[in-house]
Every structure is written in structure tokens, then in C-alpha cells.
């Protein structure tokens, strides 16, 4: 049983006041997320990521298609008790303190009374808001709000966690903290479905990603596969400005900057290149294998014509 199963979910809004025009926010989407996976939902702003999440949360209703979470319908309260959700740029009841807010949400999620205060206290500590427990949310900084947001999403120990742009608007420290929290969730065996347009986050955290643009699924794949599909190259950097003649014959590219040279050449010539540098007594700074980045994959998928997108999607699903 998959954690999330999306079967042709589709959303068309009608926009305009007088003469309604249809606006297709999401084309029929098919997607399956297995239990325990960390799944990244990638796409530029306005691609349909939030729409998908709102459909899954039952906040908007699909034009057609359906979806199941934990094998239950989207309007099933039993399912809702087993999932957590962090909306994009969350905003909470600012007249409540951190503790009151989490307590309210714990009540709504059906956390038993006995467990509640303990659970709230642990959660505040876990997201580093122990000291702010009795501070009203109107005095919270953006980062603190985001952390409260994550706390409310995982407060009731859900099996599946949906996070909409969890890192947006955070400073580097905050991003690292959120990243660590997500890694913890992964270790706890939870399914995490999160949307982002920040690729490095996705690359660092995800098992699989889907790329979406203009309401259309453009591709799905495992990170490990995506980043190793292109043949390897290496990057060598050494001190100096000299480029040995032997290297020049090696089908390589050279970039001279300041007092170092950077060369990019095929992987199989690594040994020969290193020998040459040693022979010439040049000071080696680094050697890095280059792989195709998620970025390349992403850009390729986002920009590709929409016609073959369905094909790719179908392939990705299989």
C-alpha cells in the first residue's frame, strides 16, 4: 500500500468576474509515493505545487480524478489524524502562545488529554522553542513561526507529513535546522512529501523527486538515478598558470583564474593527468568527480516541450 496515491487529480479554476474563463491549475496528475520515502515536489513558482497539496488536504476540490492517502479517501477524518501539514508561509493564531497553539492543535488532532501537555512540551523543545512557550505568536520572528509550523505538523506523530515550501524565507541557520528536522523524520520512518523550488534542499534530502511546471508533471525519478545518468567527468585544480603540453592533448577544457588552473576532462584520463602534474611538479589542489546535477535535470524537464511530458511522467511512474 503506497502512502500517497494520486489518480488523475485535476483542477480547473474559473477566473474572471463577468465572463468566466477556465484556468487549468493542474492537469491530470498521476503519482505514487511509497511509505518511508522522502519525496520532493519540484517546480517554479506557480507551477501547481501548492494546488496539489491543497487538493490532497481537501482545502480545494478536484475538477476530476481522485487520490488516496494511507489508502483512505481525502475527506476521511481517520486519515487526517495520521497526517501532518505545513502550509506555505504559515500564519497562526497570533493571540495564542506557542504552547497554547500546539495544545489547541493537539486537541483537534485527537491527542488524548493525558499525553497532550507532555507531547507539546517535547515538541517545543525539539524545534528549539522551549523558551518561547509562553510568548504570544505575534512576537515571533519568521523563523520561529516556521518552526512552530513544523512542530504543529508533526505534533500528533503523523505517518505522512506534507510540507509546502518548508525552507522558504528562512536564513541559512534556519534552513539547516529545518533540514535536520526532516532528516530526523526520515530516520523515524515517516513519509515526507514536500514541495520546494530550492534544488539543493531536494538533492540533499529526497529519495525521489517529481518535477512539475505549468500544472503538468514533467518527470519523476530517484535522485541516485538522475544524478548518475550522464557519463562522468572530473575536475582537477592546481596552483600556477602553466598548462602542461601533455594535458593539452587530453580533450580537456581549461580555465585560468588568478594563480590556479581548473581543468575538466573525461574520467578515464584521470590517471594520466595526475601523472603529468606530478611529473611537472605542479601543486595539486583538488580532484573532484563531476556528475550531472539535479539542477541540470530540473532545467531540462522544466523547459522541455509539454508534449512529451506525459510520456516521461508515465515512464517515471512505472
Amino acid at each position: 500500500m503506497p502512502a500517497i496515491e494520486i489518480l488523475g487529480l485535476e483542477k480547473t479554476y474559473s477566473v474572471g468576474f463577468w465572463r468566466k474563463r477556465p484556468k487549468r491549475a493542474l492537469l491530470p496528475l498521476h503519482l505514487k509515493v511509497e511509505k518511508g520515502e522522502v519525496f520532493g515536489f519540484l517546480g517554479p513558482n506557480g507551477a501547481g505545487k501548492s494546488t496539489t497539496l491543497k487538493l490532497l488536504m481537501g482545502l480545494v476540490f478536484p475538477t476530476s480524478g481522485s487520490a488516496k492517502i494511507l489508502d483512505m479517501d481525502l475527506d476521511d477524518p481517520r486519515m487526517k489524524a495520521r497526517i501532518g501539514f505545513l502550509p506555505e508561509q504559515p500564519y497562526f493564531y497570533d493571540y495564542l502562545t506557542g504552547q497554547e497553539l500546539l495544545n489547541y492543535y493537539a486537541q483537534l488532532s485527537g491527542v488524548p488529554g493525558k499525553e497532550r501537555s507532555h507531547r507539546v512540551a517535547t515538541m517545543l523543545e525539539r524545534v528549539g522553542l522551549k523558551d518561547a512557550a509562553n510568548v504570544q505568536l505575534r512576537k515571533f520572528s519568521k523563523g520561529m513561526l516556521q518552526r512552530v509550523g513544523i512542530a504543529q505538523a508533526i505534533l500528533h506523530n503523523p505517518e505522512v507529513v506534507f510540507l509546502d515550501e518548508p525552507m522558504s524565507g528562512l536564513d541559512p541557520m534556519g534552513r539547516r535546522e529545518v533540514r535536520e528536522l526532516m532528516e530526523q523524520l526520515k530516520h523515524e520512518g515517516k513519509t515526507v512529501f514536500f514541495s520546494t523550488h530550492i534544488l539543493s534542499d531536494a538533492e540533499a534530502l529526497c529519495d525521489r523527486v517529481a518535477v512539475i511546471n505549468k500544472g503538468e508533471l514533467r518527470g519523476v525519478g530517484a535522485i541516485s538515478e538522475l544524478t548518475s545518468t550522464v557519463q562522468g567527468k572530473i575536475e582537477i585544480v592546481w596552483r600556477g598558470t602553466a598548462i602542461p603540453a601533455a594535458l593539452k592533448n587530453m580533450n580537456a577544457e581549461f580555465f585560468v583564474s588568478g594563480d590556479s588552473v581548473r581543468a575538466i576532462l573525461p574520467e578515464q584520463q584521470q590517471e594520466a593527468a595526475l601523472e603529468t602534474l606530478q611529473r611537472e611538479r605542479l601543486h595539486l589542489i583538488s580532484l573532484t568527480p563531476l556528475s550531472t546535477s539535479l539542477e541540470e535535470y530540473y532545467l531540462q524537464k522544466v523547459q522541455q516541450a509539454s508534449a512529451n511530458a506525459t510520456q516521461t511522467a508515465a515512464g517515471g511512474r512505472a
Binding site: 488536504m57 481537501g58 481517520r78 487526517k80 489524524a81 501532518g84 493564531y93 493571540y95
Partner: protein, 258 residues
Amino acid sequence: MSARIAYIASNTFREAVRDRVLYNLIAFALLMSGAAILVGQVSFGIERLVVVNLGLSAVSLFGIVIAIFIGIGLVSKEIEKRTLYTVLSRPVQRWEFIVGKFFGLAGTLAVNTFLMAIGVFAALLYVSRQFHGTDGWIAVALYFSILQFLMMTALALFFSSFASPLMAAVFAFALFVIGNFSEDLRGFAAMTHGLQRWLATGAAYLLPNFSALNIITSVAHEQPVSSSLIFYNTIYALVYTAMVMAAGVLIFQRRNLK
């Protein structure tokens, strides 16, 4: 009823209190004490009448204003600030949310009215030195005011489930005014003929009927209120409130929360 409704209701109550809604009581207290002192010195023989009329009218007006202006924000504010997202992604059904919000505001108004009632009776005691048997009818008038607040809260919630806050406020206030003339409207409808009569009568009956719930003047004149009027007014107000709430749920149930 589900515990979640109670949780939402108590959070709504907490919000109202923290947003200083009950501060209106200060204005009310000033009004009542000022009126009691002033009327004791100025008028002759109608002190009680003035205090009861003024007190009950102020209770009604303050309550209606709170019911409308808090009521229209109950849902729309949560949509606008997206706080609703984190509520509805939990095992909370939409109708539970609406009903919980209703009870939260209704509770706020009940507490508010109770505190105001103390003020009215205190002012009454000040001007007439003692309570009379007929003063019990004032409590009935206050109770009818609360019934009106229930209907107004439901109407404000209903309008805010599909209209913008400003429009919802306009609609709700218009219905409050019309509701006070609903007997006349039913009279107008009865004067038309044929199909028009059916349509007009139907519309007139769908409007809230506040005139039967407004007994301030007759109470001020120490007129008794029949127990059957209390009974039927209670049932009517509850049934009307339930009707409006059901309509609100039907609309909100289908609404896309963009």
C-alpha cells in the same frame, strides 16, 4: 457532539477575549452609571422607564454590533490568514468548524450579555431603591436579546461563508433592519395577489423576524410577557438559527479555499 466543536468554540471565545471584545463592557458601564445618576436628578417619576429602555436598548445594540462584526470575520479571517489550512488538514470536518465558531461567538455574547444584565439591574436598583415583581420581565427581554444575537451570529456566519467581509457586514446589517420590520413585510406580501403573493410571502417568511423578540418597550411599561410567547419565540429563534447554519454549512462545504 464532537469534542472538536467544543475546542473550536473555546478557542473562538479565547480569541474574542484576547482581542478585547469585552472592552465594550467599559463603555456600557459608563453609559449605565452616567444614565442612572443623571436620570435620578433630572426626570420625575420615569427614572425606571428611562433606565430600562436605555439599558435594554444598549444591550441589544452592543450585542448586535458584536454579532455582526465579529461574526463576519470568524470564517473570512481564517481563510485570509490561512489559519484554516492547519485546522482543516486535521480530523476536523468543515461543518464542525462552522458550528464550533458559532458556539464560540454565541458563548462570548452570552457572557457579555450576562455581565451587561448585571449592570442594568444595578442601575435599576440605584434609581428605584428596590426590585419589584415586574422586574423579572426585564430578564425575559434580555433573554430575547440573546435569542436575537444567536440569529444574527448565524446570519453573519452565513454571509461570511461566501461574501467578502464588507459585503457580509452590509448584508447582515440590512437583514437586521429588515428583520425589525418583518411583520410589515408580511403585511405587504399579503396585499399582493397571485404568483406575486406566493413569492413575496415566501421571501417575507425567510427573513428573520425580530419584532416579536423586541419587547423592550412593553417590558419598560411593566407589561407581562405570556409564557407561550417565550416558548414559541425560543423555538422559533433556535429553528431559524439552525436553518441559517445549515445553509451556511451547505455553502462552506463546497467552497474552494484558494
